[in-house]
Symmetry: C2
Subunit: 263 residues, 2 copies
DNA sequence: AAGTGTAAGCGTATGGTCTACGGAAAAGGA
DNA sequence: TCCTTTTCCGTAGACCATACGCTTACACTT
């Protein structure tokens, strides 16, 4: 039914896998052509897992199904990947990289708010393409190329604003947290719409009618007032989007205020 | 290993259970003392589930274990609760209620920012007490007394600021989203610290040393600069807290600006 | 006091999950 | 040909939610 990210935390095994493309020699401590030949590549395993998770969700991405989709036995996967948690780390870093955020010396829009907007847009697109990201904790992310490219890009958008290093880091963290949270909530909603076949607004509508049975006007005067003044008229989806945009613009205003004070 | 919230979505069955304390008569369509006597109450089931989830996490809260802790068979629980998803909804509304946010005509601090701070504080305490909340989706919450009390309180903190009903609702949604997100991330970190026995900062430290093996200065000039200027010196936990507080204060500033413009 | 209707309690079965273990199979080198 | 090394993978153990249907307990009627 579900998924939680229980990190086995063995950096020595997972880091070489994460960095296999930029530093492929690192895992070359085994004699070249000795023993049975491999039928797959790690990339193929990650791609197959991604395809399943994208299509049916992280819960449906069992080791059984990944193996079956590759035509191998389940346990074969464990010769490519230490554990399922590690496979998920590899998937995450893969899709982080897919955003193709501009690197140093690559062209990017001006001014910095546009650069932040680019990051936000690509990140939201990433969550839409890979809704399962919602279920992956971000507090201990995979230390891979995709994650480092993100931090570099977000920091670099603010690099010329004259913030102190401390402020710069704080601001970058606030931006990342805000953007991923917003994307995560949007995704959550989309995912439920698909899995239940019921739109978000329809879900609320259904409950709105029912809760009138239980709603006590005395205990909820403000809600009642807002209700009667039409404050709830727009769909919930719409309202959430507006709320997030409002909050995000205020955060960027706040950062901008720091720069003018500093400069 | 994990948990996902797959809502069966049967409002007719779950709503009377959610509102059982404020409207106990609602479920009284069965003749009173007919048939075998119940061994438990719904409250006892919810309490037992809460105890397990608080202690060992939502993943460890299996129907098996809840039943065992109550000394009944597993399937007995299904005479109290339609499904596990519904049981989780009941747990959520229970802890939302536990915050005991001031109702209408109950004393509360002034000015409104202090009222918002009260909400934020209680909510964060709730997440600390019940870390499993992190894994429960908030986009389709249980429509129970606790959830309605929250919306009423947050809306009421802004009731006297002269915002339009639309603005009021948007602002309240932004505040709720921000607070729950922050609490959620903090909790996530705490939970991992307990379950892995490794502090957040220690985890980063361990990886920081290892990634120097893979870190490419050319590709990450800004990170390098921030690093060398000491921008990463404070612990990650600390930095995240600062970032969130910064963002939250900017959001409240933005709301305040709306009120002065309106009044 | 016996019988009956009703609801609660719960054992079993189904079809999943991850992964430890150990044996089988394939490849290169001697 | 045989040995070493590596991959491949079947089996098994210990979990999970819940559909189904039988057993048990209780209140009311006769």
């Amino acid at each position: 039914m579900g998924v939680e990210h229980s990190g086995r935390a063995d950096p020595d095994r997972i880091l070489p896998l994460l960095w296999r493309h930029t530093r492929p020699v690192a895992a070359d401590d085994s004699r070249p052509g000795l023993g049975r030949r491999r039928r797959l590549t790690l990339d193929a395993v990650v791609a197959a897992a991604l395809a399943l998770a994208d299509a049916d969700g992280l819960a449906a991405m069992s080791m059984n199904r990944v193996a079956a989709s590759l035509g191998v036995g389940t346990m074969t996967l464990y010769t490519y990947v230490p554990s399922k948690a590690d496979l998920i780390d590899l998937m995450v870093d893969e899709v982080l990289t897919e955003r193709a955020l501009p690197g140093p010396s690559e062209p990017r829009p001006e001014p910095w708010r546009e650069q932040v907007a680019l990051y936000a847009e690509r990140t939201r697109a990433m969550y839409r393409r890979h809704p399962w990201l919602r279920h992956v904790s971000t507090v201990r992310p995979p230390i891979g190329p995709g994650m480092l490219a993100e931090r570099e890009y977000v920091l670099s958008t603010l690099a010329d604003t004259g913030l102190t290093p401390q402020q710069l880091n704080t601001a970058a963290l606030a931006i990342t947290a805000f953007v991923t949270t917003t994307a995560s909530l949007e995704t959550d909603s989309d995912e439920l719409e698909r899995s239940t076949g019921q739109s978000h607004d329809a879900w609320w509508q259904e409950r709105t009618q029912l809760w009138e049975e239980y709603f006590d006007v005395e205990r909820h005067p403000t809600m009642t007032r807002v209700w009667n003044s039409g404050g709830f008229d727009r769909g919930t989806t719409d309202q959430m989007a507006t709320a997030h945009e409002f909050g995000f613009e205020r955060l960027l205003d706040g950062i901008e205020a720091l720069t003018t004070r500093a400069g």
